[in-house]
């Protein structure tokens, strides 16, 4: 099988979906990396569930001693930095922003995503338990949901499936799936293959994708 794109490149591709002034909530994992690849000249306003908007980058290991502060963290518990123009609020207001449709884009990790855009990303398979956290509110209510994921599991099984076999986070919520081999749009007629990783053919991508893919008229190689 061909080489798959590294996680950083998935994040880089997703960064292109952001626009100036976009209000964005990043899930844990690949999504968090997206903020490292925002195009020049674009201001993205990050939202974190625990009550901040417009904060800056994560504190690096070198800055830890000097800058890490338990009173300025993101939803993943990472220390972040202040920026001019940011603000703070409480949890009910924070999820009011989410439920009220005031967040433009959320980028979420995936356990499975279905043909119809159903997302499952909270219940750890095998363990039988899971943390719902704020993911369900995001998946149900944010205007545009982008799923960031490896195309197949470590065991080689498709993560893009006809129907999710694990408990859902939200039905019919995903708008775009960006994987390590393809960019797939969730359309009314089904999944539309829009972009492919360098060297991959439609057939190869289809072979590791459970539902039938519709090939976009303007199918192209992933641009970064």
């Amino acid at each position: 099988m061909k080489e798959r794109l590294p996680r950083e490149v998935i994040a880089m591709r997703i960064a292109r979906e952001l626009f100036d002034g976009a209000v964005v909530n990043l899930g844990i994992g690949i999504p968090t990396m997206v903020c490292n690849f925002i195009p020049e000249g674009i201001t993205v306003i990050y939202h974190t569930e625990n009550g901040a908007l417009g904060f800056g980058p994560v504190v690096t290991a070198e800055e830890f001693e000097e800058r890490a502060d338990i009173d300025l963290i993101n939803a993943g518990g990472q220390f972040v930095t202040p920026l001019p123009g940011m603000c703070f609020f409480h949890h009910a207001d924070s999820f009011g922003m989410i439920r009220g449709g005031h967040i433009d884009i959320t980028i979420l990790g995936v356990i499975q995503v279905s043909e119809e855009g159903d997302l499952a990303n909270w219940m750890t398979p095998g363990r039988g338990v899971g943390n719902i956290g704020g993911g369900m509110d995001l998946a149900f209510n944010v205007r545009r949901v982008i799923a960031a994921t490896e195309h197949i599991t470590k065991g080689g099984k498709p993560k893009i499936v006809k129907q999710c076999s694990v408990p859902l986070t939200a039905p019919r919520c995903v708008d775009l799936i960006v994987t390590d081999v393809a960019v797939i749009e969730v359309g009314k007629e089904g999944l539309v293959l829009r972009e492919f990783a360098p060297g991959w053919t439609v057939e190869e991508i289809q072979s590791i994708t459970e539902p039938k893919l519709i090939v976009a008229d303007d199918l192209k190689e992933i641009e970064l």
Binding site: T48, P84, A92, R99, T124, F140
Partner: protein
């Protein structure tokens, strides 16, 4: 004269009885967490508690989250009967929390709630709204047993308010009337829990004179707060109280 300052954490939690419903300000680490009040509640020993908090405590992920004694110690100490939380389990299947073990063993009841629904249920309990409809959860396990109703063609679940007997919260500064300000993401659930509980007990870094807090800046009005205890010993978490998060100059980053 209104004076809600209490000298010791022990005194502040002394009247908590078995079976009480207790909200705890908590989110991904020690920020905004009432560390000393939880220590005092463990020592006080009230049992059969219902805990309402973001996590069920005791989530230890070496190298990711700071390892400290949060409300996991109440589970360890067998004081909890039920927990209402949205993030109750450790991310690591090899570092189970005391709560997870007790939930698995059927010793503690877990009510798993989406985070935003939890926040709104707490706020509604605070503001006299007994129930509300939310889109979040329809078509998932969260919808089990819940009333579904359509608004504008979209399905919604009926969710009920949560009310607490006590809220153990964390703030930055207080005056003796209980007006509270926070610091950064310390707010999280604290302000809405403060509004909710019959008795709200706040652990704060500083107690200042009446009038030292700008009225435009008060986040939790004093009428919601019953008892205030000032922290005497810094528990040693990474913090820089000498520095505000107010960055005036974008070049300073």
């Amino acid at each position: 004269m209104i004076n809600k300052i209490i000298e010791t954490f022990e005194e502040a939690v002394a009247d908590i009885t078995d079976g009480a419903v207790i909200m705890i300000g908590n989110f991904a680490g020690p920020g905004g967490f009432p560390y000393y009040l939880i220590q005092a509640l463990k020592k006080q020993g009230a049992g059969n508690l219902t805990i309402v908090a973001n996590t069920a405590g005791g989530i230890k992920i070496p190298g990711v989250l700071l390892d400290f004694d949060d409300h996991g110690i109440l589970f360890e100490n067998k004081q909890v009967r039920k927990v209402i939380a949205n993030f109750p389990f450790s991310l690591s299947p090899t570092h189970l929390s005391p709560a997870e073990k007790q939930v698995n063993a059927g010793e503690v009841e877990l009510e798993l709630v989406p985070q935003g629904t939890m926040a709104e249920r707490i706020r509604c309990g605070a503001v006299g709204v007994p129930a509300f409809y939310t889109p979040t959860g329809f078509g998932t396990v969260i919808a089990d047993g819940k009333e579904v109703r359509y608004f504008d063609g979209r399905p919604h679940l009926l969710e009920h308010a949560i009310r607490a007997d006590y809220a153990l919260i964390r703030a930055y500064k207080s005056d003796r009337m209980g007006n509270l300000v926070y610091r950064g993401t310390m707010r999280q659930f604290n302000p809405i829990m403060a509004m909710n509980a019959r008795v709200t007990i706040a652990e704060v870094d500083e107690v200042v004179e009446i009038g030292e807090i700008d009225p435009e800046v008060v986040v939790t009005p004093g009428i919601f707060v019953n008892r205030i205890v000032r922290i005497k010993d810094d528990p040693g978490f990474p913090r820089h109280l000498e520095r505000s998060f107010w960055v005036r100059d974008s070049e300073a980053i």
